[in-house]
């Protein structure tokens, strides 16, 4: 009996870890591209909450999770296009605009939610699960890791896609040049503004899907401020990963694991405040920075708007 409990518990813990990690993974991968291209996208939290709300509305009225994800991506990209216009094209301060967008959209989504659903919080049905044949039959690990919504596998596959983009495509080179030496990219005949805009839009799309996943699959409903800093965590992950997509995945799983542990601890009736467990990943990261704090490998032109022929 005790053994059975432990297995179920472990499965739930791991399943929860993956569920909590996916939004962070999507946000982190998205932010990584912006940072590579030299844009510090602080507005990602706003893109995520927009994705969560639009994604929820889309899924709620259509009854399809996929429409929810598409709507979420569109919502995130809409916010990102505003960010790109203001910060990339106009060259306005990325931190100021990022914070303004985040605050404004947190407000706007709770406003819209209030008027759309008044004070009710309708729930979506549980997301359909695509078990992976054979793997999902492994005891404990199978149901935890291989019985998820299809988007989860796609999100993990995106890590590979990103590695391929950064290492093997012309666009990957362009991104790195845009972040490290935009003038060099410009004289090579590639439009820096356009390259950075694409990166910011990609961030918006990924953050939007992440937000939609958070609301639709993770929680099954939308509540105001539901992202609760997940976008900021994405920024942290992207910065710590130093341009390597794999490290975003590793970081997201560690953070997701800690988040999942808080839930599990509550279920198991452990009398430690959940905050203690929530602190662990941050403590680990700060300790790492203090111990191994070398100069963070950030792009040289991160946060600096590009203006052709500026002197």
């Amino acid at each position: 009996m005790g053994g059975f409990f432990t297995d179920t518990f472990l499965t739930a813990l791991l399943f929860g870890a993956v569920t909590a990690a996916i939004p962070l993974l999507l946000a982190g991968l998205g932010e990584q591209m912006s940072e590579k291209a030299g844009v510090l996208n602080i507005g990602i939290e706003g893109m995520m909450i927009t994705g969560a709300y639009i994604g929820f509305v889309g899924a709620y009225y259509s009854g399809s999770f996929w429409i929810g994800f598409i709507a979420g991506a569109a919502g995130g990209m809409a916010v990102a296009s505003l960010m790109a216009l203001l910060c990339v094209r106009f060259g306005l301060n990325q931190i100021v605009i990022g914070i303004a967008l985040t605050l404004g959209l947190e407000g706007l989504t709770s406003l819209l939610h209030h008027f759309q659903f008044s004070r009710s919080y309708p729930r979506l049905p549980a997301a359909e699960v695509t078990p992976i044949p054979l793997l999902s039959d492994i005891p404990v690990l199978g149901p935890a890791l291989f019985r998820h919504h299809l988007i989860v596998y796609l999100a993990v596959a995106m890590v590979g896609v990103m590695i391929w983009v950064y290492k093997r495509t012309q666009f990957g080179l362009n991104l790195q040049a845009a972040g490290d030496k935009p003038a060099a990219l410009d004289v090579a005949g590639i439009d820096v503004i356009r390259t950075r805009t694409v990166a910011v839009l990609f961030t918006g799309g990924m953050a939007g899907i992440g937000g939609a996943y958070l609301a639709n699959v993770g929680a099954g409903l939308f509540i105001p401020f539901i992202t609760n800093g997940a976008g900021f965590l994405g920024i942290v992950l992207a910065m710590l990963a130093r341009g390597r997509p794999v490290w975003v995945l590793v970081g997201a799983l560690i953070f997701g694991g800690c988040l999942s542990m808080t839930t599990a601890a509550q279920v198991a009736g452990i009398r430690i405040p959940t905050d203690v467990i929530q602190m662990l990943p941050f403590l680990a990261v700060m300790a790492m920075l203090v111990l191994f704090g070398r100069r963070a490998g950030l792009p040289a032109a991160l946060g600096i708007p590009y203006e052709r022929g500026a002197r």
């Binding site: 495509t169 012309q170 080179l173 790195q176 040049a177 990219l185 052709r308 022929g309």
Partner: protein, 515 residues
């Protein structure tokens, strides 16, 4: 040697004018660039060469005038447009991404969805580079290459794109004399293959040695052109004379040699012993530097840029820590003192990076005069700013040093380079200067300001101060120094007394021969 036949003009400028707030960078410039010719654009810093290049490479658009390509009017809209027209540029500040490999840098600019075609690239690079005698390692990261190697990569990149016109902007400033000669040979091979080369420089000798045609720019205007026919006729010396006449007017005042008189004495006002500093990834070190400068003496430091000049200046000023050695001013050791302490003792450092570190561009002129004295009485009293004192002193300095500014509250970044330099000079000479380090004091100034600054340096020495003058312009050093030391890879390789054949001896030291 068989003379290559110059073809028709591939690019022509007609009355091209470009204005920036406060200056006319190019004023009705006409220029014909022909295939099979090295066309030298000669002019001092600030003559408008870089602006002209940025218009040819699509970074900027002219305000007036037109650009013709193969005789057809064709505005160059963007860098990619310039590339598609066959205009390749090697910029003064290199345009390679340091974190990418050579191959990846060469691949930049391809279509975004494609895979960088490294294999194809390797073959083409070999095909282009070998006949030119260039050997580049495609797999190396750009940040690991020397400046000369980086320049070769940029030249290859321009050729990879089937450029018909190759523009080299101040390409020799980072090269050793040997590297410069190699570049000259390379340009010759390129024009023999029918390319046009535009070679921008501010050095007369290079113009005479490499040019098939020389155009001289001065304060934004084209003041003269020497055609290839004429160039072939003239002796080198006569040619240099003619160019000098164009650049500086008939009296050739810029190179006037005037060494401030000083009573011979052996007292060392500023003495440096065995100063050493380890090399870092992005800066050369210093290797047991020793010298002494007497009262009223100007000691020049010659050398190729980036051989430790800046590190030496910063170490003396207390801005950069050293590993060993000592600095004495009037017999007192300055070791262990920070920037402020050394300044108080009378050691002053005038940086070459006027806007980057010399001033805070958004702060008013008045505050910039006192940036190195923040908190000191009488301008501050118990930490409180005394505006009236500061303003009165600032007005006085503005007058005394003839700083042309709308007012002392104008942000210093709005002033011209020459006036910013005057602000810095005023700051460093104020209140008890005894020894002054000038790092490239005339860099980027127009002729009038250059001459005024040189006179100012002479005057300072005339007042009995010790002057260390760091410059990459040998003519400048020869025109005013008592002695000239040569720095190479962080080491002083010799000191030459100014006088007969000093220039030649310094030149020999620079290329690693005994003086």
């Amino acid at each position: 040697m068989e003379q290559t036949q110059a073809g028709p003009a591939i690019v022509s400028l007609e009355g091209v004018t470009k204005r920036f707030p406060g200056i006319v960078a190019n004023d009705r410039v006409d220029l014909d660039i022909r295939a099979g010719e090295v066309h030298v654009l000669l002019g001092e810093n600030g003559a408008g060469k870089s602006t002209l290049i940025s218009m040819l490479s699509g970074l900027q658009q002219p305000d007036d005038g037109r650009i013709l390509i193969d005789g057809v009017e064709m505005p160059i809209r963007s860098p990619s447009h310039a590339l598609s027209l066959g205009i390749g540029t090697v910029f003064q500040h290199n345009m390679l991404v340091p974190t990418l490999t050579v191959a990846e840098n060469l691949a930049l600019g391809g279509r975004w969805w494609q895979r960088p075609r490294i294999a194809e690239l390797t073959a083409r690079v070999a095909e282009i580079a070998r006949p030119l005698g260039i050997d580049i390692n495609l797999g190396a990261r750009v940040s690991e290459l020397s400046l000369g190697e980086q320049q070769q990569v940029e030249i290859v990149r321009a050729l990879l794109r089937d450029s018909r016109l190759l523009i080299l902007d101040e390409a020799t400033s980072m090269l050793t004399p040997k590297g410069i000669a190699e570049l000259g040979a390379l340009m010759r091979r390129l024009v023999e293959r029918g390319l046009a080369v535009v070679f921008i420089t501010h050095k007369l000798g290079e113009a005479a040695d490499f040019g098939d045609r020389v155009s001289v720019l001065k304060l934004g205007r084209k003041v003269g052109e020497i055609t290839s026919e004429r160039l072939r006729m003239l002796e080198r010396a006569a040619l240099v004379d003619e160019i000098v006449a164009m650049m500086f007017g008939r009296q050739a005042g810029a190179d006037e040699i005037s060494i401030p008189p000083r009573a011979a004495n052996d007292d060392a006002l500023l003495e440096v012993r065995e100063l050493s500093m380890a090399e870092t990834s992005d800066a050369p070190g210093l290797d047991r530097i020793s010298f002494a400068i007497g009262h009223g003496e100007i000691l020049g430091i010659a050398g190729i840029d980036g051989n430790g000049q800046k590190q030496l200046a910063e170490a003396l000023a207390g801005q950069r820590p050293t590993d060993s050695g000592s600095v004495m001013l009037a017999g007192q050791a300055l070791d262990g003192l920070d920037v402020g302490g050394r300044r108080k003792r009378g050691l002053r450092y005038l940086t070459d990076d006027r806007l980057g570190e010399g001033t805070v561009g958004t702060f008013p002129v008045s505050i910039n005069y006192f940036l190195k004295q923040i908190g000191e009485p009488p301008l501050w009293r118990s930490g409180m700013e005394r505006t009236r004192e500061i303003d009165a002193r600032a007005i006085e300095l503005t007058r005394r040093y003839d700083v042309r500014t709308p007012g002392i509250s104008t942000p210093v970044g709005r002033l011209s380079g020459g006036n910013i330099q005057k602000v810095l000079i005023a700051r460093e000479l104020a209140d008890g200067a005894r020894a002054v380090i000038f790092n490239k004091p005339t860099y980027g100034l127009d002729l009038a300001n250059t001459l005024a600054t040189r006179q100012r340096v002479r005057d300072i020495a005339g007042q009995g101060l010790a002057v260390l003058l760091i410059s990459t312009d040998l003519e400048e050093l020869l025109s005013m120094c008592h002695r000239i030391a040569v720095i190479s890879q962080g080491r002083l390789v010799g000191i030459v007394s100014n006088g007969d054949r000093a220039g030649e001896r310094v030149g020999r030291l620079m290329i690693g021969l005994a003086a």
